[in-house]
């Protein structure tokens, strides 16, 4: 139980309704909390990609991935640890314009974190920061301490593997041949 690592599970699926709950229920059954989740169309038409992160043991995550992979509409599922991935999250911070203008060191903070200003109005400023969880979290803490954050939102993780795993398109080609 103690030696849990953060794993990133990547899942490619057909674009069928109801798959999200099928995927998440595999985690729930094994009492794994989902830390982040992001779902979007993949580079291949009609195929969706799920990226899920969760704290688990390697033994357990392997079983989870096999059970997901087994579902009829899932094309492929695999898992990685952070060192095998290039990964990123995005965070948005909403600040009060009055405070923003009043406290000059906010600018320094934004520079230090390489954050961007997306929108400024009379009442609010929206800042964007991409990075790892620790980075977006640390900016949140500093901003909160300095001028207060009106709203904060962080996306789920997106990730790309460093190693040369089989590309989905290659797998699909093989499958196409098999059909013929």
């Amino acid at each position: 139980m103690e030696n849990k690592t953060l794993f990133t599970v990547t899942i490619f699926s057909e674009n069928t309704a109801g798959l999200l709950s099928q995927v998440t229920s595999v985690f729930t059954r094994r009492q794994l909390n989902i830390e982040t989740l992001s779902v979007s169309p993949s580079a291949l038409e009609g195929i969706h990609k799920f990226t899920v992160t969760t704290f688990s043991t390697e033994e357990e995550i392997e079983k989870v991935v096999k059970q997901i992979d087994k579902k009829v509409d899932i094309l492929k599922a695999y898992f990685n640890t952070d060192d095998e991935l290039v990964h990123q999250e995005i965070a948005l911070y909403k600040l009060a314009t009055s405070e923003f203008l009043r406290i000059p060191s906010v600018e320094e903070l934004i520079r230090k974190y390489n954050a961007q200003i997306l929108d400024i109005t009379e009442t609010y400023v929206v800042i964007q920061k991409t990075g790892h969880y620790a980075e977006t979290q640390s900016l949140f803490k500093e901003l909160s301490g300095l001028i207060g954050v009106l709203q904060f939102i962080r996306s789920g993780r997106v990730a790309i593997t460093k190693s040369k795993t089989e590309r989905l398109s290659d797998m699909l080609q093989k499958l196409d041949k098999k059909q013929k």
Binding site: A17, G18, S21, S25, R29, K66, D69, V72, L75, L175
Partner: protein, 566 residues
Amino acid sequence: MSKEITGSEALILSLLSEGVDTIFGYPGGAIMPVFDCLYDYRNKINHILVRHEQGATHAAEGYARTSGKVGVALVTSGPGATNTITGIADAMIDSTPMIVISGQVASSLLGSDAFQEADVVGISQPVTKWAYQIRRPQDIAWAVARAFYIAASGRPGPVLLDITKDAQFGKVANYEYKKASFIRSYQPIPEVNISAIEEAAKLINQAKKPYALVGQGVILGGAEKELLAFLEKAGVPAASTVLGLSAVPTDHPLHVGMLGMHGNLGPNKKTNECDVLIAIGMRFDDRVTGDLKTYAKQAKVIHFDIDPAEIDKNVYAHVKVLGDAKETLAAVTEKIEKNSHQEWLQEFRACDQREYDAVIKHELYPTTGQLKMGEVIRKVSEATDNKAVLVTDVGQHQMMGVRYFKYSQSRSVVTSGGLGTMGFGLPAAIGAKYGTPDRTICLFVGDGGIQMTIQELGVIMQYGVNVKIILLNNHFLGMVRQWQELFFEERYSETVMTNPDFVKISNAYNIPARKVETREELDEAIADMLNHDGAYLLDVQVETKGMVYPMMPAGTCVTNILLGNE
């Protein structure tokens, strides 16, 4: 075909194309168009009207288990559909090919809490291999083809098709049925890895004490012959899981008995003494393994399975032989040397003797006292020449049944193994008879379980289904009572039952019945039952506080086996 047909007709034609001859179902508002169409096809498809939708699913399971074909259930939306969930879950965990077709409210009403609307796709998803909602008539043929392919291929399982009422009414212009044989996201049979076959053969050749565990995968894969060839060439003793029973005939010299909580002494004990453990189409259920931390730690494990998710799930496999057992067993058999392990086999026989003296003798051949479940089961098995199909409900009679019935051919056991569903027996027996009309079907059922689906006696009455019902009546929820006696200081909380007169109930359904109270009348009563041309019920009064032994208490080591008063 250029003529327009309705979605309902497309459904029926699709079922006919898949060779469906029998459906178990129950009508209702949202499935009426299909039932209306069925009326035109009543000479081609035999619809059996059950008395509760749960019964339809268990009957479909029984049919699938004896016939090897996909069982089909047809129900209405809302409560009709939710009543099937137990049977679907049962089929899922026991890998039984089944298709449940449920009506659904019109697509325009979906999500509006319409009358008898239930999100049955959502509800059933965790317990189906595939669940799909059909909202357009032109999708019916495609979805049915996929459903049959998915239900029957690879590791079989239940599929739910939910069809909206407008899809049933709607017209299909160019109906055409094409069977499915490929779904790109679904590869039911993993490719055989030759090096795994070689490694397995090497381990088996080197083994001094090899031991095979046979699961239902062998039966589902139709690999009985390949299994026997393998076992005989390698000279490996083999035990069966409950669902694997009958893959190897009971009296085969290499068959050493049954595994699990109430399995035989040798098969359980020797698990922790063998050097190579060969698991074939079984999934190391906790009722088989007990405590995993102490399970077969000394052995190298070879696991044959078609489902990659079963490999390393509960027990680590040193050699992972993925694939269809029919193929992989044949491949391994080719590569092994002819061998024999007589001394090792004798060790099992020595355990048998101990079990016989401590348990079996008293259970099967008592001469005084109340009737015992075991003796009744033995006598029925003998009276049918060990050729009948055993169907059971869940409880003590189930464990006694699978232990003491004898099997001479495959597909002779129909029981709820994984889910342990009380109420399974009676409807499953009905389905089993339709699945194999020429065989004698013997249902053993408890006084508790029969009352969970007792209304299905109506099906037996209406269609004259010839099933032999042996009610092993101990006036207790026996298996729970056994646990109370062993583990809860004999505090019999809510396990005593005041029962109706089952003979009268049976007679009310026009089924002849007889109450049996003494040993002296047993043989004659069994003969009466078997000689009667049609269904028959025996209400056998067995000892109230019988115990099923041996018993490996839940979560303990496979060598920790209670034998009762040895």
